[in-house]
Amino acid sequence: MSRDLWQALAREAANDPSRAPGIAKYLSDMMRAAEASGGQLPAGYVYEGAYQFVIQAENLAPEVLSTPGDIRAPITRSIQPFIPLRVPFDMLIMGFGGWAQPEAIPQDQTDLTLNELGAVYLLGCAQSNRDLFSVELGLDGQVSFGTNGRDELMFPAACVVGARDKPRAAAWTVRRNQIIRARFRNITNVWLDGLDAAILQPVHLSTAAIALYALNLEAP
């Protein structure tokens, strides 16, 4: 783990002289720990994401599904607004995880049946329901990190983020007051495209969230 992280931090120090002494101290501690452990992965707080930030959307309804080539409502975009997270301190984001909670809607204002609930809980084939929502990450209103090189695209969270057990690894340094933003789209209706609503009502997501696991770079 050490070298990639150390290189990223050393470049940060070279690019920002104001933070160089603090980063140098941090690097010295980490390299000492690596040396003491004989080069194996050391245990301890310096390698754990001590801070966990969550960007969360609630009560997401499915959006209109268009036919392929219909540019009015492509499956890779969303009408939902971005949800911002203001970075509270200089930090190193070490991983991303995601999770969603589907919500079953009963038919005709009657009580929800266990069969309806069971059908909703069977939706999806990815851990943490990450194939029930798509996600797009951005920074400072200018960059979106999902793309095919020409257009900004949203992809299923099952391809973009990991889960808490195994986050998607990152070595992303962001600065105090930058705005990380995320946008979510409920894609349960992609699974259920063409299904008669009399069989199952459209599935909402009561919660769709991504978590960022980070280290505070300003801490001594």
Binding site: K25, F155, P167, D196
Partner: protein
Amino acid sequence: MPTPSSLNEAIALADRMAANPADAVSMADTLVSVIERLPPPASGLLSRPAFNRASLWSLGVSFENVLPNGEAPPEVILCQHDVWIRGVSICVIPLVALAAESNLADLTARLRLFRDACATQGTNNRGLVEANWRVDSRQGFISEGQSEIIAPGTLIAGDGFWSAPLDWRLQKDQTIEVRLRSRMNQFFPLSLGTNVTDAERVLRWVTVVFWAEELRQPSVR
């Protein structure tokens, strides 16, 4: 070839920079160089497990309504920057459309079928497609030794939870061409006859996403 540095050398330099802000400024580039020249850890490959790999960009393509016969038109990713491709994941969403007379029990049975099939097809339904990719039209990255093949998604891609590790450095304006074919005729074999229609073999949405790190700078400003 640059002379390897040592961990002691890097620690001494970092200590000096931490103690003296003036040295921190003047020696920062030297520290970068020293760390880059550190030898790999004694434990070798096992010291760099998959979670070590950092990525930021999701470079991907989207295929909709993939039919069970024939190959979907290839989609192309254009690299906007010099990038380091670190991994690839596939997500497949099948169409669980049912006949008009179906009911909730039928829907549940269909959903359970796909959920249970994860044990054989892999998570994210990766086994429902075959894929390969070419870089700048160069073949061979998915190959049987002599010629390009198109291989099951379960074998060549991850599911986000973990990623099939890659280690490609691509330059700006290079392209990755992704080819995709449905395996639904194997998952729902034709011997099912009228029990499964062609409409039920359509894959509603398939995404292939490469995780990439921008090489110009390790962090985003």
